[in-house]
Symmetry: C2
Subunit: 418 residues, 2 copies
Amino acid sequence: MNLHDQIVRIAREAKQAADSLAHVSTDRKNAALLAMADALLARQAHLIAENARDLNAAREKGLPAAMIDRLTLKEQTLAGIAQGLREVAALPDPVGKVTGMWRRPNGLLVGRMRIPLGVIGIIYESRPNVTADAAALCLKSGNAVILRGGSEAIHSNLAIAACLTDVLGAHGLPAAAIQAIPLTDREAVHEMLQLDEWIDLIIPRGGEDLIRAVVSQSRIPVIKHYKGVCHIFVDADADLDRAVPICLNAKTQRPGVCNAMETLLIHAAAAPAFLPVVAGRLREAGVLLKGCPQARALLPDLEPATEDDWSREYLDLVLSIRVVADLDEAIAHIRRYGSLHTEAILTENYTRAQRFLNEVNSSTVLVNASTRFSDGFELGLGAEIGISTTKLHAFGPMGLEELTTTKFIIYGNGQVRT
Amino acid sequence: MNLHDQIVRIAREAKQAADSLAHVSTDRKNAALLAMADALLARQAHLIAENARDLNAAREKGLPAAMIDRLTLKEQTLAGIAQGLREVAALPDPVGKVTGMWRRPNGLLVGRMRIPLGVIGIIYESRPNVTADAAALCLKSGNAVILRGGSEAIHSNLAIAACLTDVLGAHGLPAAAIQAIPLTDREAVHEMLQLDEWIDLIIPRGGEDLIRAVVSQSRIPVIKHYKGVCHIFVDADADLDRAVPICLNAKTQRPGVCNAMETLLIHAAAAPAFLPVVAGRLREAGVLLKGCPQARALLPDLEPATEDDWSREYLDLVLSIRVVADLDEAIAHIRRYGSLHTEAILTENYTRAQRFLNEVNSSTVLVNASTRFSDGFELGLGAEIGISTTKLHAFGPMGLEELTTTKFIIYGNGQVRT
């Protein structure tokens, strides 16, 4: 069978599986998820051996240490993955939930009921844990999933997926509900992205290059974010003692993630008191600071920030700092250079806090808290399948509900339209 | 300026207008809508004169009478359009609504707030009323709109849009929030569909050919339905006296629309009693009937239905009829030949009614009512900008809320992530 036919077969079987999975009870899905957690631990030795094949190949290719680290499956990693599956089993099932019901003047009772999207394609890079995490969220929400991980993790991903699929079979669920593409050719991704007849949604997870490539090729709707250029605006009326730890947390607690702060905006009235203190603490934490001319007038040893720096996602211990005249200038800066991801204002001023929440239309806006809270678990969604910075269907962190849609259900008693 | 540059300018100005319109109060938007209704009536003579230019051209081109009818603006049509704008003014504004708010264990108060999508492109065919209807719904939901109507209605559409834009200006709102593309070249649509940097959503309204052309060209998300192959299943336990008027209503009340019934499925146990009666009534109403072999065994003068007929949207007084063994066969038929639009079951059996509502995942499913209720106004959404049969973002009739998305808003008091 050629590559095109193989991918089409995977997609068709996924669609069939999705049709049947949409009506499986929560209890049966949960039982399968718990059994999957057990199966991953029972096959631990096999999974680590398959992972070693990927690791050997990675070392031979001379992949960077950080990538090899992300690729590595240890006992502890597997225990974490299994725990994740158990937590998904414990979450409420969105499918079948009636989100509202109302009576029409003619007596019709109209409601909206959550149903799965259908078939979801996940395209990701080197972390093999995504294979289990994404499969669990799709299964719980009644969707079939097609997993296409990075070629460097192929043995790990196939071994994990086989483990999950075996459990589906043993529980009388369609094995094609979880499929990992066994082909590492780039062409396989391209073929997959054409199959809008059977695949309902694509979620790419990885770097901006991967995501741009997926968007440009796909005929299927894609939910994604390219990058997170997240801002904190320290207002004139900020509580500066509280602002310092928040800025430090947003920049340094995990600098390589999309909800870390990349640009700090400081009200001109707060800058003389705040900038030297926060800069000192950030530098102690190893952060390289770049500033606008006004910031450099206060702290001459800041590196000059270039025009390009205002839209950069460093994903590293680097921060751009700009002094702004007021809230309006801060909002205008965010609108011009931001990525619609996450922005925070630190202030004790009621009106400006409310204005920031209302007027900044990024996917997550906060008052007096770290940007790092822009995360499905932290916001209380129970899980996170990804973050969207495009407004269609989902905006911001996506949990199980975002893997569903609603249909209208109508109880009548003989109504006709006049 | 070349065509590409003209369309880019329209899109950029729309984006700017959208940024400012997103924060305009409901009162100001409503005042503009009411003034627009008045302005359309005040300029009635001018609008009818511009419409006459389109009508003359249409007659010269020999366009069919039905199309000329859809194209015609009369005093009565304009009164209806003005009334429509007033009704949109009276609807609740979805923007700024907080759809939920919850407390996290660390004290963060997390909510979701509705915000506009941004810039919406509407691509439609010959009805000039869409110009005003769509503009009103977009304005009310805080979105800028780019309207691209059919070339045969160009003078009517531009005259209506100019009237609306003048009101925007007079009310201090950005005139670029409502723009009609003054170019009739097909190339203009193609250019518009590439501008995903500024346009957030495309809604095509018209025949399947138009919609397929838009989908195949667009880089921007498209919400659409290709067609409505809507089914009614008359169960063994249907109340046959109530089933006849429902079937008649679904087929004949307005046969040219997407929520009209196209296929009637009848349980084998009900067919001998029901089929002759309903067929008689449908024929009296001028409906041509086509049947499966089992139906023809009961009524030999039915035309034979071909395999293709089961997926046809007649949009006319024609109906396909199939006798099925049971509910499972009815559901399997709908899954195979349906278009995910609207399906109804007529039954007095509780379990089968519930099974149909749960297991048929079309965008609207009804018990004991006509498929014609699948409509934004009828379902209580207050308005309808279109119907979606793709599951992303919206599924089924779309009202004002479907022209918005939600952002997360978070009230903190110094929280950092650990």
